[in-house]
């Protein structure tokens, strides 16, 4: 099939950037979206132009690198799918597809479609862990965890940190990302010891990074490739307010 791509090109963080149109011909509908981008890049390099830069790695929907706003939606039109798992068969011959980077103050563009998502790492560094050193831990079966709780924690932990939640949110809020980690650890007995400190610090870091505020539109869950639930945002709200009013931090 033949397609027109309208791709955001930006030379560097300080470049103004703009859209460039590319005509793609003979695209096989079995290709993944990123393979189609590979084809474009091969053509560009052969013409002596710079290829379109984009983050990608595992191409099986788990590393969270790929991040394209395709045709008006993060990761494109398929729900529960990361960009790398999106295949060309969902598009029609003659379509024009607009491809943009994630847009958020906290995710500045580095080049073309590559954005800086290190804000997420800093949020985890603020408290997204259980403070145990290697060794000296109890036997794994010494703390039973009800299956339901373990499954729920797992569902939260499936987050791949791609940033689609931020990209989808009209306020560029990172609540779903933060809530997933806060909830995973708040649910498990291992994480309960530090739960108050954790949520206070992680939310403070989230705010400091310049993400927007949640207005409960729930777009984040809809666009999340792992379909992480809104329940966790409610849980984090609860955790946060409880922590703020009952923790020892003055």
């Amino acid at each position: 099939m033949n397609l027109t791509l309208n791709v955001w090109r930006q030379k560097g963080p300080h470049d103004k950037g703009g859209f460039v149109k590319y005509e793609m011909t003979d695209i096989n509908h079995h290709m993944s979206f990123l393979e189609m981008m590979d084809v474009l890049n091969e053509q560009l390099v052969k013409k002596g132009e710079e290829p379109v830069h984009f983050d990608h790695d595992c191409r099986e929907g788990i590393c969270g690198s790929c991040a394209m706003h395709i045709d008006g939606r993060p990761h494109g039109p398929m729900q529960g799918t990361a960009t790398c798992q999106l295949h060309m068969r969902v598009f029609k011959d003659g379509d024009t597809i607009t491809v943009e980077p994630w847009r958020a103050k906290a995710f500045p563009v580095i080049k073309d479609l590559v954005v800086d998502r290190s804000a997420f790492d800093r949020i985890i560094q603020a408290g997204g862990y259980v403070s145990v050193n290697t060794g000296g831990v109890p036997d794994a079966n010494e703390i039973p965890v009800p299956k339901k709780i373990a499954d729920e924690a797992f569902n939260a932990a499936t987050c791949i940190s791609c940033g689609a939640c931020v990209a989808a949110c009209k306020n560029a809020s990172a609540m779903l990302f933060v809530a997933a980690k806060v909830s995973q650890l708040a649910l498990l007995p291992q994480g309960k010891v530090e739960r108050k400190n954790r949520v206070e610090k992680m939310v403070a870091q989230m705010d400091a990074e310049g993400f927007g505020n949640c207005t409960n539109t729930q777009a984040c869950s809809v666009e999340c490739p792992k379909e992480i639930s809104q329940d966790f945002i409610a849980m984090m709200n609860r955790e946060y307010i409880t922590a703020k009013f009952t923790s020892d931090n003055v």
Binding site: E42, V45, R59, H87, N133, N141, P144, A150, A153
Partner: protein, 644 residues
């Protein structure tokens, strides 16, 4: 060169305990005087960096990804083995050790494997304490499953995302140390050379991938946790950016590369659909528990299926060849990975392959659905079927899945001793980057175990032995050795940029992959390997004459990143072929056509090849030098595998 494996004396079960007592310790107050460089943030790198920082060392950790959590360990699906014997089904440290040595076709070190089995139990405890949400039973205790044909249930798992959960555990431990300031994290920074001062590893040269700046980092020891080199085949289940550059550049500086030809080819991957294909996706091995593998009996039917004239479901039972069930009546579809892979290749070579390219076989669930009902099959494999449909557009409930083998894991890697130190003092290799534990073939659910064992429970003990022998002073990054290494890196980059040829980097990489897959893939022979060596040499020469990189050096330039990596693959590929050529036997993932039993099974030559082949670099176009570390088996008896 004398390869001293430093395996401790004494009975197998006591070696590690004794060794831990005998290694030198570094005074807690002195640890902060030492800088440790960790390259890579996968399971091995993240766990090592976090554990060493907890002990008090200053750690600098490097990843070329934008975040440590993107390392490819994250994609491991199945699970992690541990000899916990929670299921009361007869597992033990000794059994895990035995299975691993046997699975590795007797080409690994007994002592290393035994230690791996010993610390496996600690790994699970550690991960659970970190909040890794493993699957659980209704009673709240951990669940296990049997994996990869093991006779006991010793695999811990978190749905099909075990690697992700374990990596996030290690990543969180690492993040905690970044917050304390004990770890300095460098993201989007790629190691391009190792710096040796007086023969000791004293630092690395890196490129900041955003600014293109070449930087020096000095330290008292360098840990390479940089994963495997499966991408030498271009198409593999590895991530796009997985590469061998750090390990290879260390090899060029003198580190020996061991058993490079031992690659694991996984039988159940989604087949290639066209030349644009960029990577292959693994489908869990568990599918073979219920799926039946077949191809058409006749060449004509196969041709008609390929052309789309008939559908696989049209073919009557008697026109199908369930070749694994036919050849291996007792194991059937559950034969080990290498056997299943090789047989798929044979039937496709005969011209009976299916799919658009003829390089695929069917994995059929029709019988299982008839027998157990669609709901049962959906409960077992629902998410896998969904993933398959997402990628191929076919519905496996109504038409058989198509699968084909793909490169998955590399057992070979940098040669290390029992302390995980390479032959270069101060240079260590952990996880898939080293060669040590899997021999010629890796068992399912053992890669995660090894990565975390090395990082959490081996290196924190063994590193001290070396560090304790060093003086306290800081390593100086202005030493002439750094100048020289930095210049070398810059020269290579400038050369790559200046060629301005006609072919893209991917173009060369794809061609290298084709050569490797054809001649150094599932079945190898002397003639093909010799041919491949010639082809690779030619391709390498072409690369340095005709590659087109484009862009600039002082900015984000992914073509340049790839060019650096492919340049190394072009050398490594040749070494793999040389190793495969020299190893005149079939064992594990290495199958030589010339060495097989009358039934077509792998034929080991224990008399001549019970050794680790460790290769020394002698120059880009010079023949490498072989060193042998003999393997001694005092506890297990070498037997021939049989799955008839």
């Amino acid at each position: 060169m004398n390869l001293n494996s430093r395996i401790p004396e004494g009975p197998l079960a006591e070696k590690w305990e004794k060794h831990k007592f005998n290694v030198k310790l570094v005074n807690p107050a002195n640890k902060r005087k030492f800088d440790i460089i960790v390259v890579g943030t996968g399971l091995a790198g993240a766990s090592a960096a976090a554990s060493l920082a907890e002990l008090g060392y200053n750690v600098k950790v490097f990843t070329f990804h934008d975040s440590p959590r993107r390392a490819h360990s994250i994609a491991a699906q199945g699970g992690i083995n541990a000899a916990k014997n929670y299921q009361n089904d007869g597992d033990s440290v000794y059994r895990l050790f035995y299975d691993t040595v046997k699975g590795g076709d007797y080409r690994s070190r007994e002592a290393n494997v035994y230690r791996l089995a010993q610390v496996s139990v600690n790994i699970i405890d550690q991960c659970v304490a970190q909040g890794v949400p493993f699957a659980r039973e209704y009673g709240g205790l951990l669940d296990n499953r049997s994996f990869g044909g093991a006779q006991v249930s010793r695999t811990f798992y978190a749905k099909g995302q075990t690697g992700q959960q374990l990596l996030l555990g290690a990543y969180s431990a690492l993040s905690r140390q970044v917050a304390t300031g004990k770890v300095k994290l460098y993201t989007r920074t790629e190691m391009l050379d190792l710096v040796l001062v007086d023969g000791q590893a004293r630092g690395i040269i890196t490129r900041n991938l955003i600014t293109g700046k070449i930087e020096r980092h000095a330290g008292h020891a360098v840990l390479l946790c940089t994963g495997g080199y499966g991408n030498v085949f271009y198409l593999s289940t590895n991530a796009m950016a997985s590469n061998a550059t750090a390990a290879w550049r260390a090899h060029r500086k003198g580190a020996l590369f061991a058993n490079p030809c031992f690659t694991q080819i996984h039988p159940t991957c989604i087949p290639v659909s066209g030349t644009y294909q960029s990577k292959l996706t693994l489908m869990s091995e568990s599918l073979r528990n219920d799926g039946r593998v077949w191809v058409p009996k006749s060449l004509e039917d196969a041709a008609r299926i390929r052309k789309g004239e008939i559908k696989p479901t049209d073919l009557p039972e008697e026109a199908r060849d369930y070749y694994l069930e036919r050849r291996y009546p007792s194991f059937g579809n559950l034969v080990p990975r290498d056997v299943a892979s090789r047989n798929a290749k044979y039937v496709c070579d005969e011209g009976r392959g299916v799919g658009g390219t003829g390089l695929a076989v069917y994995l059929d669930f029709a019988d299982a659905i008839r027998r157990d009902g669609r709901n049962t099959i959906e409960a077992r494999y629902g998410n896998l079927f969904e993933m398959y449909e997402k990628i191929t557009g076919d519905d496996p409930y109504t038409t058989p899945m198509m699968i084909y083998p793909a490169v998955h894991y590399t057992m070979g890697g940098l040669w290390v001793d029992y302390n995980l130190m390479t032959n270069i003092p101060g240079l260590y290799a952990l996880g898939e980057a080293n060669f040590s534990d899997h021999g010629a073939n890796r068992l399912g659910a053992s890669a995660l175990m090894q990565g975390l064992a090395d990082g959490y429970f081996v290196i924190p003990y063994t590193l001290g032995d070396y560090i304790a022998s060093l003086p306290f002073q800081k390593v100086d990054a202005s030493h002439p050795a750094f100048d020289e290494a930095e210049k070398g890196v810059k020269d290579t980059i400038n050369k790559l940029m200046s060629i301005k040829g006609k072919r893209t980097v991917d173009d060369f990489h794809r061609e290298l992959g084709n050569i490797m897959w054809e001649y150094c893939g599932m079945a190898r022979n002397a003639e093909g390997l010799q041919k491949a060596i010639g082809l690779i040499q030619q391709l390498r020469a072409d690369f340095w004459k005709d590659v087109n990189v484009g862009g600039n050096v002082d900015e984000l330039n992914m073509s340049l990143e790839k060019a650096n990596r492919v340049a190394d693959f072009l050398e490594l590929g040749e070494l793999m072929c040389r190793d495969a050529l020299h190893r005149e036997e079939s064992c594990g993932g290495h199958f030589r056509d010339e060495y097989q039993t009358p039934e077509g099974e792998a034929l080991r030559n224990d008399e001549e090849f019970t050794y680790v082949a460790a290769w020394q670099y002698t120059g880009a176009n010079a023949e490498p030098q072989l060193h042998k570390e003999p393997l001694q088996f005092d506890n297990v008896k070498l037997t021939q595998r049989s799955y008839k």
